[in-house]
Amino acid sequence: MRPRNVYVRSLALALAVLTLFSAAAAQNVVTLNAVQIFGTIDPAIASDYTDYMAAVNLYDGLVSVDENGATVPLLAESWEISDDATVFTFNLKEGATFQDGSEVLASDVVYSVERLLAIGQGPSYLFQGVLEAGSVVALDDHTVQFTLSQVFSPFLSTVPLIFVVNEDAVRANEVNGDWGRAYVGDNSVGSGPYSLASWERGSRIVFQRYEQWHGGWHEGAIDEVRVIIANDEATVRALAASGELTMTSQFQSPETYDALTRMDRFRLVSVPTGTGFYYKLNTQVAPTDDVHVRRAIAYATDYETIREFIFPGEPLAGPLPSVFADQYLDELELPVYDLELAAAEMAQSRYAGQTNIPITHAYVADTAFEEDIALMFQATMETLGFTVTLQPEPWNRLTELATSVDTTPNVTQVFFGPTYASPDSMFYTQYHSDAAGTWASMEWLQDPEIDALIDAARSTGDVEEQNRIYKEIQRQLVDDQVGVFLLVQTVQHAMDVCLDGFSYVPVQSFDYDFSRYTWTCRE
């Protein structure tokens, strides 16, 4: 955009004089904003969406996940699974190199797993009780074998989260047996499509294309990725207007998306995800310990209004979004908004005929759409005889409330999505008794039948049996109305019209693997 008047042009000229040298710019540069900082670039410690965004670009796993949730080769070109599903043997691709030029070997994979288990953070929780120290061995330079402690059917879907680090580089920089944590926290030691070009913590991180990446580069591949930390809507708009921004985060307001798409340079990309938006109903405290009350809440929820006017999304029939096509229970009916049916359920509950039934509804404070939903809940539920106490809480307060059944509110608005490409990641973390006490499991389900089903699905290698079990879990959870299934989140980005390649992948931040993106405009 050009300055509008002489004064401003003079000022711009004066400022330009201050710039005596300009480095040659990379050809295809993607600049996007993130709404939170990158805490770490160590893939063994990654815990949130920005950490995983760095991991998936700087590092490779043995396998990856495509937009259909299918496991695809990456560092491993093939693999075999033993009949009892406890031994996984991966055959590494020859010639794959780390960003320092050294070859990726099976010993690097062994070291990476040992390191992950020893540090005990990040994605290591996925392998507790599944992998032990010493259970991963290099059969030769290009063959690595995993022996599981027990059958764990989602194992292959968790392997993408084992990111391979350069053993030699890490060992050379270990300090006091820290597994190189200090070094890897600041430096990229992976074989991923991008290397770390620069990192101003709290402000910006830049990834630069690794030309010798084993996956190869297509025409229009992205040369450089710049992630700017900017969570203020006005800042994002200013960046877009100044020409710096190529892609927004998924967390912008509808007004910002609107403003950007009115600039000809941007289009709105809207894609359904595997993340559900739920009312988590505390099944252990009154009145939501009564299944009829829970069903009444479900019937008293105006799903269409929420999706159409408050927060965009797709309909959700149960706890599992339909992105898990093979495990999804097709016969589930979409929830309906029907106050008569809600009243009928209340009549069957132990609160029939009562008024001023206290119920708490919590949501993340200062989140406008959640407040709107909460107010709608309050207005509707009060017609059914409830007295609703709204609890807007900061996020860290909600996580603390969730640690005890007595402090967990009756109803809490929560988003939850898969961290690995298996329904197990949806069911275990939310509904298994062993996972109780987190914001993801505020139902406090404590149901031995559900626990048994989840455990059974984990311990069978028979895919059809797994799918049958997952469908049964959905049936029971819906019958028991453990939650209200508001919608499937639609992820939205305002993207430059020249940028292509975003598609949802049901593993956290794997959709921000920029080696899959393309710059379609040619200058």
Binding site: A16, T31, G39, G120, R201, N396, A440
Partner: protein
Amino acid sequence: MAYSSMLLRRLGWSVVVLLGLTVVVFVIARMVPGDPARMALGPTASAEQVNQLRSEMGLDQPLPVQYLRFMGGLLRGDLGNSLLTRRPVVNDLRQTFPATLELVLLTVLLMAVTGVPFGILAARNKDGWFDNFARLASLLGVVTPAFFLALLLQLLVGYNVAGIPVLGRLSADLRFTADQTGFMILDGLLAGRMDVVGDAFRHLLLPTIALAAASIGQITRITRSSVLDVSRKDYVEAERAFGLPDWVVTFKYLLRPSAIPTVTILGLEFASLLGNAFLIEMVFSLPGMASYGVRAILQNDFNAVMGTVLVSGVFFVAVNLVVDLVLGFIDPRIRLRGAPA
């Protein structure tokens, strides 16, 4: 002698104040709800992992033990590790503090070179057009919240002006790390990279204006008021009656005694800007200590909170001591009496 004793006493009391500050912040930080270990590891971490991290960070110890452990580390120059960045807080502060200080120094410079001359001119042009303009502009600066001005400038510039960056410390094209002093402009100069110097300066333009606006207004008003006050003194009247040139009266006899309130306010503003800069840092995505501290608070990152507060406290004390020294230089009566006028 009395003056140096006064300064030494101030220094002693400052240490006591800083100690008290550590206790207060330590207690308050731990009253904020939320499990920091759980927040650092994410919702999918197992209970064992959470407990392990809590143990590593000493969070499972009684509060007095945690405090003593922290103070012991402090004496060794170790502020512990940040839960958010997973690295020593000292390293984080070493990177973030210069970024904030650079912004603050430029802001104070802008305040001084703009507010003081404006105030003098306004006083000399009392009730004239410049005086009225300066008073109105000062008022606008004081009543406009810094973050609002920041967003406004960012939007106006982003939509209308090429060549002025709206975000960050340095253009991504310039591969440069300020690893000497942490000050981008100074390190650029030391490295002979004038491109970095110019680019860093342009990046600080909008944040500096946004942060300085309110304080410029205040400095202008204080200076104007002080100059008017001193100019009514008998000795100034006498100097004019003796026929001394106006510029001699202003700059040789009037400016120095007028400077005392201005210097005091400048010092207070300087000290408080370090903490108040966080909104500006957030809007312009500057990786400074203020925004680092705010994130630490929101994430219950206890060590980072303590580190940030300590640095801010020491800075505040140091700046106030410097202000006292400067005041002593400006007004000999302060040095002789051993106390501010």
